[in-house]
């Protein structure tokens, strides 16, 4: 119990001091997570909607695979991306290993299936309600997917926050492809891992509190925006 109190005290101290090193780490964490979630949404949401509104042979198999991909272990993805981006690997020529870009790539691979699988479910549920009316009005499949994604924007906003939470808390992939380089690819989660392995548990836990607090703030903000918008548009 003592460690937890000490950790909370450390967390407060760090926040109040606005330690520049910590600020840099927090900013990088946010940048990587936001970039990953954004790319994952751009890839995953239309894919999920497309699968939901279309019929094609093997559709059920695709849905099962998509749902299974939600459980991709981060460390496996990290290893895979590392081997791809290594100089000895097929994409080595780009030289982006051990950079934040590599971290964004790994996290996008982790989160895109999540966005696709969840949006597919949400759009499919709505499609059963909207299908007749939209077809009656002459909507195409492509248009229906887009229309539904926009109509479900409040539900999807919650999904996106879930994806962001997953990205912000992820450590297994980013530590392998980023290398946890001080000042370059060190983010909150990898710093916590580092401090834990150095034995500085109160500091690690304190950083953990800070990470939780930031994610909480972002979720609260998103919730408020969603609620106000929802009240206007039902």
């Amino acid at each position: 119990m003592n460690s937890i109190a000490e950790a909370a005290a450390q967390a407060f101290g760090l926040i109040l001091a606005a330690d520049p090193n910590l600020v840099g780490i927090v900013l990088l964490s946010l940048q990587v997570s936001l970039a990953s979630v954004t790319t994952a949404c751009i890839l995953g949401l239309p894919l999920g909607a497309a699968i939901a509104v279309n019929e094609f042979p093997g559709k059920r198999f695709v849905v099962v695979v998509l749902n299974a991909l939600m459980g991709l272990p981060p460390v496996v993805v990290g290893l895979f991306v590392y081997l791809m981006l290594s100089r000895a690997g097929p994409l080595g020529v780009f030289g982006i290993l051990f950079t934040p870009t590599a971290m964004v790539i790994a996290q996008t691979i982790l989160i895109a299936p999540l966005m696709a699988a969840l949006s597919r479910q949400v759009v499919a549920d709505a499609w059963s309600e909207y299908r007749e009316q939209l077809r009656s009005l002459g909507e195409t499949r492509l248009g229906a997917g887009a229309t539904l994604l926009w109509d479900l924007r409040f539900t999807l906003a919650t999904l996106v926050m879930a994806g962001f939470g997953r990205a912000a808390s992820e450590v297994g992939a980013v530590i392998i492809v980023g290398g946890n380089i001080d000042g370059v690819t060190r983010v909150m989660t990898t710093t916590i891992a580092l401090e834990t392995s150095k034995g500085d548990l109160p500091l690690a836990l304190g950083l953990g509190f800070i990470l939780l607090f930031i994610v909480f703030l972002l979720n609260a903000g998103a919730y408020v925006v969603k609620e106000t918008a929802q009240r206007r548009y039902g």
Partner: protein, 275 residues
């Protein structure tokens, strides 16, 4: 619409710093977790960067992993502490030349209660034999790091085939120095550690240094430029600048100046023959 535009701008802002980072003059150094966790790099590298404008990006792994990263051409320089592994690396043609840089020592850590009764001893091999005889809990890094390789060498020199005689008392954790110390602390077990990590380690619990000063615990660090003939993308000029600086009088003095809790951690010995 407004929402889409704001999101797009946010995305751009989010990605700009990545672009900026790509322009810096930098090298990638594969080194070990123990070296990084000792805090030495945090002390040395800012001085080097100020002097030369070269940013040194350290990827800290176990020695075995660090050398593997370099074998794939993902690092420009390796800075590790396992002479035989380094020489194998050179013989494979992945490195240009090995420069000794500094040394520190390993220490045999254990619980103050000391069930194997090794405290104060000066002979590591005797101590290890006692630990094995007493089947006292012992934590090994098990991760092909320099420390792990040194530990295995010591068991062998003590005449113990550790692979055969390990029992539940021998905990092979497959982790870095810090986590291994954490495990030892919670298990009240013996563990071989480098002095640097131990001095910086904060979660000691009931552990203390029980055996030190034995010549066998000598731990030499070497730095090698990754071979640009085999890996054309290696930044050989910048890398060599870093190596030259490490073994220069200025670099060597800085290494000696680095202290934790008033104690010097690393002892510069560049140019010393036979290490």
């Amino acid at each position: 619409m407004v929402v889409a535009r704001r999101a797009f701008v946010a995305l751009l802002v989010a990605l700009v710093p990545f672009a900026a980072q790509a322009q810096d003059k930098f090298i990638t150094v594969a080194s070990t977790t123990s070296t990084e966790q000792s805090g030495l790099f945090g002390f040395l590298l800012p001085v080097f960067q100020k002097k030369t404008g070269i940013q040194v990006r350290v990827v800290a792994l176990g020695t075995g992993q660090a050398l593997d990263v370099a074998r794939r051409g993902d690092a420009d320089v390796v800075f590790v502490h396992a002479k035989s592994a380094e020489e194998k690396f050179l013989s494979e043609g992945h490195g240009v030349k090995r420069y000794p840089v500094m040394y520190n020592d390993f220490v045999l850590i254990g619980p103050k209660s000391d069930p194997a009764k090794i405290a104060g001893g000066k002979d590591t091999l005797v101590a290890l034999k006692k630990i094995q005889a007493a089947q006292a809990p012992f934590v090994s890094r098990g991760d092909r790091s320099g420390t792990h390789m040194a530990e295995l060498t010591l068991w062998k020199d003590a005449g113990i085939e550790i692979d055969k005689s390990k029992g539940p008392w021998y905990r092979d954790t497959g982790q870095g120095m810090g986590p291994a110390l954490n495990t030892a602390s919670s298990l009240n077990a013996y563990v071989l550690a480098d002095r640097g990590t131990w001095l910086a380690f904060k979660n000691r619990g009931g552990l203390a240094i029980l055996v030190e000063g034995d010549k066998r615990l000598f731990n030499q660090y070497g730095v090698i430029l990754v071979n640009p003939d085999k890996h054309p993308t290696v930044k050989k000029d910048l890398g060599q600048t870093f190596i030259d600086w490490l073994v220069s009088p200025e670099g060597q003095k800085l290494i000696a100046d680095y202290k934790v809790g008033g104690e010097q951690l690393f002892f510069p010995n560049a140019g010393q023959p036979g290490v």
